[in-house]
């Protein structure tokens, strides 16, 4: 029951994180200095990405013992796609944390830092989309039992 609840929280926070990752990419794209709203956007995207990843890491050990075998029996491709999801998830988180720090630390008169951070946020958003898509597909095949 708890694992299914945590899986559900992981999924919902993850979907929110996907949406939140594209917001700073748009806001920072031209390198304009951070406003209060854009600071909130950057902080929220990093926070939600971290929360989604933390839920995933908390689930991982139980997933490995309770679900992974069933998943591979169901579909070898899906089992391997879940491994890809893990990789993309960590990479997206590292990108978001680095880009958020860059956006916050960049001097107001140096737009090139924010432009670079925007590209990293956009790439992290694409990674997160892949993670969300693969996660949804894999969960449709095998997940924690009730």
């Amino acid at each position: 029951m708890f694992l299914r609840l945590l899986t559900s929280i992981h999924g919902h926070v993850g979907v929110l994180a996907i949406a939140l990752l594209f917001h700073p990419a748009i806001v920072l794209w031209r390198g304009a200095p951070l406003t209060r709203a854009s600071k909130v956007a950057v902080a929220l995207s990093a926070g939600f990405a971290f929360a989604a990843f933390a839920c995933g890491v908390a689930l991982y050990s139980d997933y490995r013992t309770l679900v992974r075998g069933t998943l591979f029996l169901e579909s070898r491709t899906a089992g391997l796609l879940f491994e890809t999801k893990e990789h993309a998830g960590f990479m997206a988180l590292a990108m978001v944390l680095g880009a958020a720090a860059t956006a916050f630390l960049a001097p107001r008169n140096r737009p090139e830092y924010r432009r670079a951070a925007a590209r990293v946020f956009a790439a992290a958003g694409v990674f997160a989309l892949v993670v969300g898509g693969l996660g949804t597909y894999v969960t449709s095949l095998a997940t924690f039992s009730k």
Binding site: V57, Y60, S61, R64, R68, G69, F72, R76, G79, L80, L81, E83, T84, E86, H87, A88, F90, M91, A94, M95, L97, G98, A99, A101, T102, L105, A106, P107, R110, E112, Y113, R115, A116, A117, A118, R119, V120, A122, A123, V126, F127, V130
Partner: protein
């Protein structure tokens, strides 16, 4: 001849953070490729046999190596013009680099 403008400490932190955003994912993929080359490739039996600690270990080593590379850039970045030019160039190059990392993560699960 004027001396090059030095980077402020805040700007050096910004450079280091951007370097971390590139280095940590890259180190993760390098670590995974090393595991695949060493023999833990796409065989589902091998994937199933992997302990969950392998994933945690990859995360830890990629974060540590990414942080170390970022710290090295923080220590070495001195010339403001050169650093800013590289940051500007990174905005064009990074999407392609991340695309390559995603393809590698897909090919070598």
């Amino acid at each position: 001849m004027n001396a090059p403008e030095p980077l402020t400490t805040r700007e050096r932190f910004a450079v280091a953070a951007l370097v971390f955003a590139v280095a940590a994912p890259t180190m993760y993929v390098v670590h995974r490729l090393y595991e695949v080359v060493r023999g833990g490739g796409e065989d589902p039996a091998l994937v199933l046999a992997q302990a969950h600690i392998g994933f945690y270990w990859r995360i830890a080593s990629a974060t540590w190596l990414g942080g170390t590379i970022a710290a090295a850039f923080f220590a070495l970045a001195r010339n403001a013009d050169r650093a800013r030019a590289r940051v500007a160039l990174s905005a064009r190059v990074l999407p392609w680099w991340y695309g390559l990392l995603l393809v590698l993560a897909w090919w070598f699960p």
